[in-house]
């Protein structure tokens, strides 16, 4: 036993000595890998050694020892201290060093996540997890296993802004499919919370149409939300899947979301009273799935859609007629609905209280402002970048041995 601790002390000395240049670090890395068993056997006695190391200069060595310490079971009293010390390490460590041992770093962060969940204080996890992602990522296009954990913290802590900043990154590299499903699902929920329905729809669409050989629970829940967000944002829902959807999803998803599909049908018919009947009939199911809030938004959207539809037929219409057509209780209610839509930019209209009329106007956008040129320019840049990426991926794929094997048969 003593012999082992001596070896550990020697290793610590070597960590101190070999944390200078890149070649030293590589040498240290091999030494550490060889000493895994040693660390595991002494895991309960390693904690004090951490005080001898600097989390920034000796990140790699610190990481190995921290990983071994945290692999032992943790008591609740130790949990909050552990959470603080891992958070400190994440904030201070050197990215180049920890990227040499990504699996170790990931498992330390996973344990961090478990302890934060045990303490039931997700707010503590938000900032460290974001830092961890930025240090672990090889580029902003790389999706790590930590991404979904971070988004989960954001959701639980109701701290959505940091989540949105990560969601703005375009992802091209994915480590594990499961990470991708969870990332898009949680990301969709965050966007829904911030009323960014367009982005939410995109993320949920990615979950539903992702390649898969068997159905999983994440996809089933995502599909339900996908239907609802589609109704809110686009005003309609089509039950046919895009061609690139997996056959397993196409065959089975509908079986798990009957109430939602019925709601979509009812919405398509356009009558508020029928829609509300449908909502009441499936109230329990919606509540159980925690989708009741979204369902309520679908109902209030219907009023908006019906009013918007009127603009296609009429130039002017009385408030009373609007109330009657859209099934509102009074002209005053209709006036408030129209006012809110004007405030949100969902309709171009002017209310004339003297005559009790609404005049519908054309979209005043003339597409000749400076902002419009900026938007066109940045959209074109983005598409050119995507097109280049697609060409590169196509070239890489056509040289891929697996692909060539399948194609040549």
């Amino acid at each position: 036993m003593n012999l082992n601790m001596n070896s550990v002390e020697t290793l610590v000395a070597q960590i101190h000595g070999l944390s200078g240049s890149i070649s030293d670090i590589n040498q240290l890395h091999s030494l550490l890998k060889q000493s895994e068993d040693l660390f595991q056997s002494e895991s309960t006695r390693l904690a004090p050694l951490l005080t001898e190391l600097d989390p920034f200069m000796h990140s790699l060595g610190y990481l190995y020892i921290l990983d071994a310490c945290t692999s032992a079971p943790i008591s609740k009293e130790q949990a909050s201290e552990l959470v603080l010390s891992i958070a400190r390490f994440i904030n201070l460590c050197a990215a180049e060093q920890i990227r040499l041992a990504p699996d170790k770093f990931t498992s330390v962060c996973k344990r961090f996540k478990d302890q934060v969940m045990l303490l039931e204080d997700p707010m503590q996890g938000v900032a460290p997890m974001l830092t961890a992602i930025r240090k672990l990522q090889l580029s902003s296009e790389h999706l790590t296993t930590l991404h979904p954990d971070f988004l989960l913290f954001c959701l639980l802590a109701k701290c959505y802004k940091p989540g949105l900043s990560i969601l703005e990154d375009d992802i091209f590299d994915v480590d594990q499919p499961r990470d991708f499903f969870l990332y898009c699902y949680y990301g969709g929920m965050i966007c829904i919370g911030q009323k960014k329905f367009s982005k939410a729809l995109e993320l949920l669409h990615n979950v539903v149409t992702a390649p898969m050989s068997i159905l999983n629970a994440i996809v089933v829940e995502a599909y339900k939300k996908y239907i609802l967000v589609s109704l809110i944002h686009v005003g309609q829902f089509s039950i046919s899947f895009p061609k690139y959807t997996s056959s397993v999803a196409q065959r089975n998803l509908k079986n798990f979301s009957q109430p939602y599909l019925e709601l979509a049908n009812s919405y398509g018919a356009g009558k508020i009273s029928e829609l509300e009947l449908c909502v009441q009939a499936h109230n329990e199911k919606f509540e159980f799935d925690k989708n009741l809030g979204l369902v309520k938004q679908v109902v209030s959207c219907m009023y908006k859609r019906n009013i918007q539809r009127l603009t296609q037929t009429y130039l002017t219409l009385s408030l009373q007629d609007i109330a009657n057509t859209v099934q509102l209780n009074s002209a005053k209610e209709a006036e408030m609905h129209v006012l809110q839509m004007i405030q949100d930019g969902e309709i171009y209209a002017t209310i004339n209280q003297k005559d009790g009329m609404v005049r519908f106007l054309e979209d005043p956008e003339q597409y000749k402002t400076c902002e419009m040129i900026e938007r066109i320019d940045s959209s074109i840049q983005r598409i050119m970048m995507l097109s280049r990426k697609l060409t590169d991926m196509d070239e890489q794929l056509s040289c891929d041995p697996l692909y060539l094997a399948k194609v040549s048969l």
Partner: protein, 197 residues
């Protein structure tokens, strides 16, 4: 942080200071929750008012949901601040003014509340200009949080006209004046994309 509060609750409140205050509050909450129990001392009322001022009602909602019950029950100013946010969320336009007026605000909060009240009246006036061609003085008064006479005067100063007999105000629309400083290089760039040299 304290300096920002000082700025925020001072007599002259400007948008930049409040936005910085909200940002600091948001980040501070995230940073401070790492191991330090700040819950009770956190300036929730000011934080809420900050969100309300810069019109991030969604964020105010989430902040409200995360405030511990103990704080909600013991700090009536937090409840009062939230009431304003709630009225904004449900678009009870007149209710916002009532919520502002009915509470006796602390000195720290009074500055933010007064500035928000003025800003909100301006915003409501702009909304009326964009949405109405004619509107009764009574409704205008509700939207602006003024009595009927003051509301009519406010409108008249904005260029509207009043028909005394029917108590109807006719709105004066703003001419859309956009300074277009065109960046010629952007046009050049777009041209080159379509017609490569």
């Amino acid at each position: 942080m304290e300096l920002l509060w000082g700025n925020a609750s001072g007599a002259v409140v400007n948008q930049v200071a409040l936005e910085a205050c909200v940002k600091a509050c948001n980040e501070g909450r995230v940073v401070s929750s790492q191991g330090v129990v700040f819950q009770d001392e956190w300036p929730y009322a000011i934080h809420l008012l900050g969100h309300i001022y810069i019109n991030y009602i969604n964020s105010a909602r989430f902040l409200w949901n995360s405030i511990p019950l103990a704080v909600k029950e013991s700090q009536p100013e937090v409840l009062a601040a939230w009431k304003i946010g709630q009225k904004l969320w449900t678009r009870d336009y007149a209710g916002v003014h009532e919520a502002i007026r009915e509470f006796n605000w602390s000195p720290e909060a009074q500055g933010s509340v007064t500035s928000f009240s003025e800003l909100y009246t301006e915003r409501m006036f702009d909304l009326l200009v964009s949405a109405y061609s004619t509107i009764s003085t009574q409704d205008t008064a509700l939207f602006l949080g003024l009595n009927a006479d003051d509301a009519a005067n406010y409108a008249l100063e904005g260029g509207w006209t009043l028909d005394h007999a029917s108590q109807m105000l006719t709105v004066k629309k703003q001419a859309v004046a956009t300074e277009q400083k065109l960046d010629l290089s952007k046009l050049q760039h777009l041209t080159e994309i379509c017609f490569p040299p």
